[in-house]
């Protein structure tokens, strides 16, 4: 029932609200510069063709995670009519090559007892699997082969487009997905964040006719300079790097990205309403435009902490609306890190439609008050402690460590940004929070969308 599960595209999410807090912070007295937060040794190398390789030994006897991060997501779907294509292409990457048909691909992983999968988000497409130590070369071989030599028929392409439509259909019966789509379509006029990763339904329905474009998409974005291979677990760094050089060395595709259009500065509030055909409690979403992720300033860390301070379950507003007055069944905040200016979204599932306006106004008032009133020092300490322990408790498997790194590699290409980012968490002061609230959480930068039920159940 959580609102924060919305961005699940295929398997998992790299930066849902909970995920943001699943990375941590080293505290240091007096705000002095702390040492690196990420506790494991990281080796980063770049092949001659531009492919970056990030290797992190971790005690997970016999197994390692093997991720290929393509720094392309629905953000890169710049041509009209092509929304959802990054995700669609993720599906096509399982359709085989001349050397390994899709059946051979599945058979190899079946033999290894692994579970190859992938997901797409606004900014990245990530292919992930677990490799047994003694099967790592086979994984490197088959993974490099599909990135260099993917081959599929038009018939396969059309059949796979139906699976994507099926994925849209399975999501479509959830009112929260519809609300999320509408928020983005209203908040953006130009930038590709206007559509979700699934894409607009009319574009999904037209996908079977886009075979030629799919080849262009592959050549444009599936290039060594746009990808990062990330390995975490039980493997030999030097031996593995030699295998990477051997298998990925012949990959020569040049980088050829299309520019992503910039969103004009928003200067006035926007709104939209939608009606749901079936039974539902009403929802309201209030969102604000926030800057792109930047680990080199305090803005991103400040906004992230502010999301918890103002709207999570320990916040005064949550206590008021959900616990005390019981006007709201669920209140949540979702402010994912994004490569380009993103959204800081507050969702409320309201019990009585007559209370929608009052709840929406309390959200605005809370955001506006944050610009004028310093946050309680104790609460700021508690939120930082929550961040710290969330991170500590999230590093318990190779896959969890990989997930933490993947987010920062996807955003910046550089795993070291995880340390840079968390130095800023440590440095955030109440005045930083007031500044970012006053700058970004304003009505002029807001978009509000309501969803109400049309059903009688």
């Amino acid at each position: 029932m959580s609102l924060t599960a919305w961005c699940q595209e295929r398997v998992t999410v790299i930066s849902a609200a909970a995920g943001i807090l699943a990375v941590g912070l080293v505290f240091s007295p007096g705000g002095a510069r702390a040492k690196d937060v990420f506790p494991f040794p990281v080796t980063t190398r770049t092949l001659d063709n531009g492919l970056r390789v990030v290797m992190v030994p971790f005690d997970s006897p016999g197994i390692a995670t093997y991720y290929t991060i393509v720094r392309t997501g629905s953000r890169n779907e710049v041509e009209p009519g092509k929304s959802g294509f990054a995700h669609f292409f993720e599906h096509m990457m399982f359709r085989g090559t001349d050397r390994f048909s899709s059946d051979a691909f599945n058979a190899l992983y079946r033999k290894l007892g692994s579970d190859p999968n992938a997901y797409t988000s606004d900014d990245v497409t990530v292919y992930n699997t677990l490799a047994p130590r003694d099967g790592l070369e086979q994984v490197i071989d088959i993974e490099s082969d599909r990135f260099m030599n993917l081959k599929y028929s038009e018939s396969d392409f059309k059949q796979e487009s139906k699976a994507v439509l099926g994925e849209y259909n399975k999501n479509n019966s959830d009112p929260e997905n519809r609300l999320y789509e509408k928020v983005r379509a209203t908040a953006y006029t130009t930038h590709t964040y206007r559509h979700t990763t699934m894409g607009f339904i009319e574009d999904i329905e037209d996908m079977p006719n886009q075979y030629e474009y799919s080849r262009e998409f592959f050549s444009r974005y599936y290039t060594p300079g746009n990808c990062v291979v990330l390995i975490v677990g039980d493997f030999d760094v030097e031996g593995t790097y030699k295998l990477i050089q051997k298998y990925y060395g012949p990959w020569k595709s040049p980088n050829n990205p299309a520019p992503v259009p910039a969103e004009p500065e928003q200067t006035a509030a926007r709104s939209a309403q939608i009606t749901w055909d079936n039974a539902t409690l009403p929802y309201v979403c209030v969102s604000f435009k926030i800057p792109a992720f930047d680990a080199r300033t305090k803005d991103t860390a400040s906004l992230d902490l502010l999301a918890s301070l103002l709207f999570d379950e320990t916040s005064p507003l949550y206590q008021e609306l959900v616990i005390r007055d019981q006007k709201v069944e669920e209140l949540s905040v979702y402010a994912p890190f994004r490569r380009d200016p993103g959204l800081f979204m507050i969702f409320a599932k309201v019990k009585d439609p007559a209370q929608l306006d009052a709840v929406r106004e309390r959200i605005y008032q809370t955001a506006e008050a944050a610009a004028k009133t310093p946050v309680d020092a104790r609460r700021l300490t508690d939120v930082k402690s929550n961040v710290k322990y969330s991170f500590a408790m999230s590093l318990n498997t190779a896959r969890a460590v990989t997930a933490n790194l993947t987010q920062f590699i996807g955003l910046t290409g550089d795993p070291a940004m995880i340390n840079e980012m968390y130095r800023h968490y440590d440095e955030v002061k109440p005045e930083d929070l007031m500044r970012v609230a006053g700058t970004y959480l304003t009505r002029a930068r807001s978009t509000e969308v309501t969803l109400t039920g049309g059903g009688t159940q």
Binding site: G113, S114, D115, Q159, K170, T280, E313, Y389, S390, A392
Partner: protein, 508 residues
């Protein structure tokens, strides 16, 4: 720098968690006169996981009060304690990044939480308050009861069709049985529950004679005694679990079609299965099921033939026990063990024009496996896969502990630890014999969520042909030939046991 140093040491200690988990066997033991414990000590782990399980579940809800166990568990975790209001409890847990959640299923309710060793004492104090000193405040009760009722009447009816389909299958398979309603209950029943009902249910079911303690991680030796002594203060008594009548005998295809507005059609089908992990045939069926429809993998016949070859939908899977996916992983959650299990097939939403064909195709593939069994090659591949894949099911101490507790529930040795040897000992003949004995394609409940449910029921009852058409060219001839057979595959619908129900009447 004191804090920073301590924290860094804690992080480094985590390096050894996985290694320790592999080498440390689970230790399920029952103290002579105390509360049973399931222990997984991992000295190097900086985390401590608690799983406190009561043999109390939705199947224990009294008639007219379906949803009572779920609401009682929510009142414990989300209703505060005599010492602290719920707001205060939330604030106290928050700096530790910890919480206590209740997993409620038919036969067991499990309270779970994990804390960093730094915060063990504070966490334990709050956890025991939750179990021993529930507040039962009327204002919190109103909030949680309304939320549970809204889940049934709004979220389940008006939202995700796939979940609605699965819950509808439960209603169909277990009509008149203690498993026959969602764990959250029925709308009219939940609305009728009083706070006194909750207090009485807590006193009756959440007792010291009905609880098992599960601990994992780097806990100090005295923690077991501390927790045991605390839980001795639970209400006294053993509620007992009288034998239940068997689920009704299914005859033909019993269709429960839910009329609901929407773009697509969700289908789930299945029947009660007289096999659990305690039965040797379970392991043979694991192999057969992996071949037919391993959850969220490309391996299964259903996934391959329905999605990959025909593009019918996003995915198609099968199960030989109750399965709930663990978050964003592809693995099942633990601690939903049941004394009675079921076989099921989950067909993810299809376009309405393909709903009858999709149903026929799934049944046809099931029928084919029941009739022909697995070839030696299919058996070898599926067994090898399950053996290797199951290594991934317990990558953290919480999941490992969950599997150990489930093993205790079924009265078996460590399920995951003994699985490889059990799989190694299997033969193809044993698997095919288990298929013949336990699986079937002619007597199932079929839950369908669709617009135009009357027309659907009419079509399947009359065995109306359902030819398949493709937009794409180049569909292999053998697939087209097969489609012709499948399009008229007989559907033996039990007309008197089948019906259409408006979604507004579901779970009422």
């Amino acid at each position: 720098m004191k804090n920073a140093l301590k924290f860094a040491q804690a992080l480094m200690a985590m390096l050894a968690i996985v290694l320790a988990m592999v080498s440390v066997p689970g230790d399920a033991r029952t103290a002579k006169a105390g509360i049973p414990t399931v222990l997984l000590p991992i000295a190097s782990s900086p985390l401590v996981t608690f799983r406190i399980q009561f043999r109390a579940g939705a199947a224990d809800d009294p008639a007219g009060k379906k949803g009572l166990t779920r609401l009682t568990a929510s009142m414990l975790t989300d209703g505060g304690t005599t010492k602290h209001s719920y707001e205060e409890m939330t604030a106290l847990f928050y700096p530790m990044a910890s919480s206590v959640r209740a997993v409620v299923d038919k036969d067991v309710t499990t309270f779970t939480g994990t804390t960093h060793i730094d915060n063990l004492d504070k966490f334990l104090d709050l956890f025991t308050q939750i179990l021993l000193e529930p507040r039962f405040d009327a204002h919190d009760f109103d909030r949680l009861k309304t939320s549970q009722s809204n889940y049934l009447s709004k979220t389940l009816r008006g939202g995700n069709d796939e979940e609605l389909g699965k819950q509808t299958l439960g209603v169909c398979m277990y009509a008149g049985h203690a498993y026959g309603s969602p764990n959250e209950g029925l709308v009219s029943n939940v609305d009728a529950i009083t706070v006194d009902d909750v207090k009485a249910h807590y006193q009756k079911m959440f007792t010291r004679d009905n609880v098992t303690i599960g601990l994992a991680g780097g806990y100090p030796k005295n923690l077991v005694d501390r927790v045991s002594k605390s839980l001795e203060r639970l209400p006294a008594g053993a509620p007992g679990h009288p034998a239940r009548p068997a689920p009704h005998e299914i005859s033909g295809l019993e269709i429960l079609a839910v009329e609901k507005e929407g773009r697509s059609t969700a289908i789930s089908m299945g029947y009660p299965l007289d096999v659990t992990r305690a039965d040797p045939d379970f392991y043979a069926l694991m192999v057969a099921n992996s071949h037919l429809g391993e959850h969220r993998t490309m391996n299964g016949v259903l996934m391959n033939r329905m999605r990959e070859v025909r593009g019918l939908n996003y995915g198609d899977y099968s199960y030989i026990e109750h399965f709930v996916q663990d978050g964003g992983s592809t693995f099942p959650i633990t601690n939903i063990a049941r004394s009675e299990q079921y076989f099921s097939i989950w067909i993810r939403p299809v376009q309405p024009q393909h709903r009858q064909f999709a149903l026929r195709l799934a049944l046809w593939e099931l029928d084919r496996m029941v009739r022909d069994g697995l070839t030696q090659e299919e058996f070898d591949e599926a067994r090898s896969f399950v053996k290797n894949y199951s290594r991934l099911w317990a990558q953290d101490q919480g999941r490992r502990l969950g599997y150990l507790m489930d093993s205790r529930f079924y009265g078996i040795d460590d399920f995951l630890g003994t699985l490889p040897a059990k799989l190694d000992a299997l033969t193809r003949d044993q698997v095919n014999a288990a298929i013949k004995k336990h699986l079937r394609s002619d007597r199932l409940c079929v839950a369908v969520v669709t617009k135009g449910a009357d027309a659907f029921l009419n079509d399947v009852t009359n065995n109306t042909p359902s030819p398949m058409a493709y937009d794409a060219e180049g569909i292999p001839q053998d697939v087209i030939d097969q489609d012709k057979i499948i399009s008229v595959f007989p559907l033996n619908v039990n007309k008197t046991a089948s019906k259409v129900v408006p979604v507004s009447e579901m779970f009422q």
